[in-house]
Amino acid sequence: MHIPDGLIPAQVCAAGYAIAGLTTWYSLRQMNRKPDPTAEIPKASLLTAAFFVASSIYIPVPPVSVHLILNGLLGVVLGYFAFPAILIGLFFQALMIGHGGLTTLGVNAAMMGIPALVAYHLFNLRQTLGRALPDRVALGGFAFLGGALGLGLSTLIFLVLVITTIPAGFDVDTERSIILALSLAHIPLMLIEGSFTTLLVLFLHRVKPELLEG
């Protein structure tokens, strides 16, 4: 789910870079507010590499297999470091396998990264809205929301961008219904991604809770 070079107009690419630049600046500012930001850099870098490697894992859903995006999970685990992590991951992907592109790096980073930050804030809501719930239920429930909505929002942005910028000759109503239909088709994937995030967060909570404090 990456937008390749040459598919969308240059104005959209430039807007993507502007949004990604602003979000990176904001994320870096938040990161610099931490008591010891340099201590966070190796952790965020190695987890960036780990997420990049883990995104190659496929989940068998016979007769097909789906691959995970993990952007919601990245937000949940890395917090504000998720945005630069996604930017770097997409940069590597564009270089190594030609997936995505260099002119569309900004658009792709905004498309994947902003939902990751939304997922981070959703996951943090467990401390206020989820206080009444049992610990594990709140943790799992908000992780599910983060994982599922992280993917859902990215998919929606992707579909809107691709379908409205490719001159396929559809009128506005047809475009809207195509976007709606394709978004609905992604709901099962959101459920898988959400469940995966829940299971992983509960696992990390059991064995290394400090990883979830980012």
Partner: protein
């Protein structure tokens, strides 16, 4: 992971190889964006020709490009394959219910030529410049220190973590994972096992990052800014006339492309 094969030709001696990295990054980057602005069919031939000439100048083998274009090419083909049959009203050819339409064909060729030309420039950059030099040049152009450090560290540990995952997957397979009879639908057990696999990978990476951080601290990481200043300083060789000449030529072409595009779209 394919960085090694990407760097197979970085030590050549063509003019593009000798193009100072910072100038090359700016020149090719601006040209890529100029290519992305193209909406007029008349500009397709010139941009493809510019990309081809630059590729020729870089003296990279053709196999390098065709091998690299294969995977992203399939993706773009899947996106545009329907366009010539759905978009537009001017029918060029008709086979029963299937009609080839001119507007759709133009839109598809626009996307494909832009895509191939931009990617060719990207592979010229990557095929002639070592990855670390690119990061260094980006630092010189104002990439924030945190991003440069994160990119370099992630790059450094990528292969190690990929090896880790491969070992873990192999041991899962040896213990029977993936050999169960296939049933339709998602198996909760499989998802749980894969979640634990990713969780363990994150844990190992996290623990390794703590050791890496301690080792970096011991070597002075985070004390003062001296190391960062040297990282950012690349020598733009003032005597590299060819480099400056290429940069000016490439930037002039980019300006021409955008000017023609704007003039044609207004007119």
């Amino acid at each position: 992971m394919a960085f090694a094969s990407l760097e197979a030709y970085v030590h050549g001696n063509s003019v593009v190889h000798r193009w100072p990295p910072r100038l090359k990054l700016v020149g090719l980057g601006v040209l890529m964006f100029a290519f992305a602005t193209v909406q007029q069919g008349i500009l397709l031939l010139p941009i493809a020709a510019i990309a081809a000439v630059l590729y020729g100048l870089s003296r990279l083998p053709l196999g390098f490009l065709s091998h690299r274009l294969r995977y992203p090419g399939l993706f773009i083909a899947a996106v545009v394959v329907l366009l010539p049959f759905t978009a537009g009203d001017t029918v060029i050819a008709q086979w029963g219910w299937l009609a080839l339409r001119q507007e759709g064909l133009e839109a598809a060729s626009l996307i494909v030529v832009r895509f191939v030309s931009i990617l060719t420039l990207g592979f010229i950059l990557l095929g002639t410049t070592p990855f670390l030099t690119i990061i260094q040049a980006m630092r010189g152009l104002g990439l924030p220190v945190i991003l440069a450090d994160m990119t370099l560290l992630a790059y450094r540990y990528l292969y190690e973590i990929a090896d880790n995952l491969a070992t873990m997957q192999k041991s899962m397979a040896l213990r029977g994972f993936g050999h169960q009879p296939r049933r339709w639908g998602v198996s909760r057990r499989t998802v749980q096992q894969l979640a634990m696999l990713v969780g363990s990978l994150l844990l190992r990476s996290y623990e390794q990052s703590e050791r890496v951080y301690k080792a970096m601290r011991l070597r002075g990481y985070g004390y003062g800014q001296g190391n960062q200043a040297t990282l950012g300083r690349t020598n733009v060789d003032a005597q590299s006339l060819v480099g400056w000449g290429l940069t000016v030529a490439v930037l002039a072409m980019a300006v021409c492309i955008v000017a023609v595009e704007v003039a044609l779209s207004i007119g």
